[in-house]
Symmetry: C2
Subunit: 245 residues, 2 copies
């Protein structure tokens, strides 16, 4: 739905996949947000020249599809490279040397599941966002002039702060262009306002930080995922694939 | 479950009824939080000498039970006195003159529904909390030394800030006595820390404020509901009733 000039489109923040059903997606651009690390990895791979990223919901499906198209099967379960795969969910794995002109078939714990939920609920447009492509996401949302739902992937339906902080970063930039009347968005922007200049210092307080850094030593991943515009492309979901628009 | 001296009990915050199933309630004290206004009204009625408050999930049930026991049937739907009832969900309606030695049979949009969910999930103990009984809730949680789930009632499963701010107030006082490793609790405490000295000034930014004040002019209700310890009793759910412990 294109709105008339006089109306501002609305913006809502869904802070858990378990709350996504509360929002009307059929007239909205849905931003899938999985900061640690799916949507940071998607931005990284596409920025470095991947042809596309195919998000899938299971390891066998990732293996099967990647075989058929000579792609790279990758993914994680509970923060680790998923059993049966050689590549994981680290944005730093997907350098230009490795991924250029290849297709990445990716399965993750939270992000790919949320994307499927948005599809099932007939989202008008689906894009993927994280700090490394913050500006590309914001520019697109301003240009589209459609209603927006910022969809946080969380962790197994639990609220997490890193996804909410990214939602807050988007709201911080776009507040004047949208009608925002939603306590989740107010909270997200407030939290972002408090920590925007010290995101990496704040990170050790996050539940997911401990999952990734204490167990797997992924401090460089964390820093990449929290730094704006390191991979500033816009992944848009079209016919089963995320491609750069 | 009573914990040993060396272990601190855990504390989690459930920021919407739609997320309550993620937490183990069977070994926990669950604090039902519906700041605007069910749990503020429950505190007010009991503080002013009500014999007990019977929470029910429908207006017909409220009318039937109140007739049988010569109680006061009360409740709201969508912020207004529910059709068929003479009394609503305003804490200021339940003065000592009106409610002393009477039983209040109360049905509300969010709070009573969450209480029923906690019962269905076999919560160990259920108490009700809001700013007017903040200290009573905190004292009880410290004394019990059990795991705690702070259950925010929200608005029709949407996140709201007033319930989360109360969760943050509890965490602010009890952080040292509990093991807290939960992004929802970290967010709640951070938001409370930012606004604790200006809660009533912050209130006009809340979605629910507009529902209550702009539509129904309930500014005095809002101020009561955000002021600590005006009705400092502890409502505990026992055999279908909330009574003062």
């Amino acid at each position: 739905m294109q709105l008339t000039m006089s109306q501002k489109p609305t913006l809502h923040t869904s802070i858990s996949p378990a709350l996504l059903h509360l929002y009307d997606l059929s007239n909205s651009v849905v931003v899938i947000i999985d900061v640690f690390r799916a949507t940071s990895t998607i931005a990284s791979a596409l920025y470095n020249g991947a042809k596309c990223v195919i998000p899938v919901d299971s390891v066998p499906k990732a293996i099967e599809i990647s075989r058929n198209i000579d792609g790279i099967a990758a993914g994680e379960r509970d923060g680790m490279i998923a059993e049966g795969l050689q590549h994981g969910n680290s944005p730093l794995e997907y350098s230009r040397e490795f991924i250029e002109n290849k297709t990445l078939v990716l399965t993750t714990t939270n992000g790919t599941r949320l994307l499927q939920m948005a599809l099932d609920r007939n989202a008008d447009t689906i894009v993927s966002g994280s700090f490394p492509n913050l500006t590309a996401v914001c520019d697109f949302l301003v240009k589209e002039k459609k209603n927006v739902v910022l969809g946080c992937a969380g962790w197994k339906d639990r609220f997490n702060l890193e996804d909410t902080l990214f939602a807050g970063a988007v709201i911080n930039r776009l507040a004047k262009q949208f009608t925002i009347h939603c306590d989740s968005s107010l909270m997200a922007e407030t939290m972002y306002g408090k920590y925007k200049n010290k995101l990496t210092d704040f990170a050790p307080k996050l539940t997911h930080y401990h999952r990734l850094v204490e167990r797997f030593g992924l401090i460089e991943d964390i820093n990449f995922c929290l730094t704006p515009d390191l991979a500033n492309v816009l992944p848009v979901y079209t016919e089963g694939k995320l491609i750069v628009k």
